[in-house]
């Protein structure tokens, strides 16, 4: 399959159709040399041609040459092996005439759509077009589009200092606290509860379930220990930790 981008044409088949309609190429006998020349010139002009495009180009060019060669032969090819090979080839690569025949109605339908679009474009609605993407179950594209639209609108809210609802758009949700502040707060709390005595870690954590509570507390204890404000003692492996004040 050749990827082709020519202004005014939507693909190689469109170009071929145009050339046949404008009698640049006879539909009954497609000029292989002309097609190859035009395609080759296009790719040469473009400069950067992916290897895949070259491969497809060669396959299509070879296919056209083969068709042409077979059409020129007066006698029917009877060689069994050739027949089998030819059949397989035709099944793999449909005839270009068939492809064009199948393609043409859509080209006409596209023309009609262009007319409808131009005509309907004269109408105006209270909401502008295009319409926002519609949500449909299973339509991940729409979901992600809506998500990014929301993100965009949120960013606009954050960066607009005059926006009145900046403060309460997350009403009910606690304000996020930086990790450093959380550890510092926990250090103060540990020292308050500890006083001049001792406390077991399990007793301190009672009423504070959750992994994040444990992590913040451990970090606070390590920081206090590093600052020589407490000492930590663990009698047995995986046992409870005794926190002792060094005041």
């Amino acid at each position: 399959m050749i990827r082709i981008d020519i202004e005014g044409f939507s693909g190689p088949l469109d170009l071929l159709c145009h050339m046949m309609e404008s009698r640049e190429i006879e539909a009954s006998s497609v000029s292989v040399a002309e097609v190859v020349r035009i395609y080759g010139a296009y790719h040469a002009q473009k400069g950067e041609v992916p290897i895949e495009a070259v491969a497809h180009f060669l396959v299509q060019a070879a296919r056209l040459i083969l068709d042409k060669a077979l059409a020129l032969m007066p006698q029917k090819v009877t060689d069994e092996a050739d027949e089998v090979w030819d059949q397989e080839f035709v099944e793999d690569s449909p005839d270009i005439e068939d492809m064009l025949l199948r393609y043409r109605p859509y080209r006409k339908a596209a023309g009609l759509l262009a007319e409808l679009l131009a005509e309907t474009g004269l109408r105006s609605f209270r909401s502008p077009l295009p319409l926002p993407p519609s949500y449909d179950i299973g339509d991940l594209y729409s979901l992600s589009s809506i998500w990014w639209c929301l993100m965009k609108s949120r960013e606009m809210v954050f960066y607009d200092p005059e926006d009145a609802w900046e403060d309460d758009h997350l009403a009910g949700m606690p304000a996020p606290i930086p990790e450093e502040s959380q550890v510092e707060n926990r250090m103060d709390l540990v020292m308050d509860e500890l006083g001049n005595g001792r406390i077991y870690l399990s007793a301190f954590l009672r009423g504070r379930p959750g992994a994040s509570e444990l992590v913040v507390t451990i970090l606070a204890l390590l920081e206090l220990s590093r600052g020589n404000r407490i000492s930590l003692r663990q009698e047995e492996q995986f046992g409870d930790v005794l926190v002792l004040s060094r005041r």
Partner: protein
């Protein structure tokens, strides 16, 4: 039928209500929506819509009623587009501009839906992933599931926005290929006569 409906007091009240709902329904309203909002049955809503349409047509109004994408819309009539364009600033007007490739791909989807990308590419003879992305971003096509075949490829369908953008009430309003030929030759004849 519509004129008698229009002359009755009760009918007038219903018409005013339908018109008011349509005025605020920027995305359009279905007959069911209107029936629920106005508190009448769908048959009466349809009669009311007919009466309203007639009223707009007869009174040479700048707006009209259009059934697009399965919903009724209040929109401007075609021949006032220049005035509306002048009013709206260029950057406010979000007209969809579609390339020839996009229109062809849309045509393939519209006439074969649901259809996979490889089926579209098979018909068009070129790769279509970028065009499909564009159509998806415009909301003109949508993913409608996966085909139960090797690789479970995604299936694409046109959307209600497609119908609205192209002025169609339903996908069945699209003409067949032979009708397209007739339509285009008739238009060419009309253009010839007016010139």
């Amino acid at each position: 039928m519509t004129s008698s409906f229009f002359q009755e007091d009760k009918g007038l009240s219903v018409l005013k209500r339908i018109e008011a709902v349509l005025f605020v329904a920027s995305e359009g309203a279905t007959v069911t929506d209107l029936a629920e909002a106005v508190g009448i049955d769908e048959k009466t809503v349809l009669s009311g819509l007919e009466a309203l349409s007639e009223k707009y047509r007869e009174g040479s109004h700048g707006i009209e009623l259009a059934f697009l994408g399965g919903a009724w819309h209040l929109c401007t009539v075609l021949d006032v587009a220049d005035a509306v364009d002048c009013f709206r600033e260029a950057n406010e007007r979000e007209r969809i501009r579609l390339s020839k490739a996009a229109l062809e791909t849309l045509a393939v989807v519209a006439y074969n839906q649901p259809v996979t990308r490889s089926e579209i590419e098979d018909i068009r003879g070129v790769r279509c992933e970028r065009v499909i992305e564009t159509l998806l971003s415009h909301g003109l096509v949508r993913i409608s599931g996966r085909k139960k075949s090797t690789g479970s490829p995604l299936l694409y369908r046109t959307t209600d926005s497609f119908l609205k953008v192209f002025g169609l009430g339903a996908i069945s309003d699209l003409p067949t290929v032979s009708e397209i030929e007739e339509l285009r030759s008739r238009r060419e004849d009309d253009d010839g006569e007016t010139q």
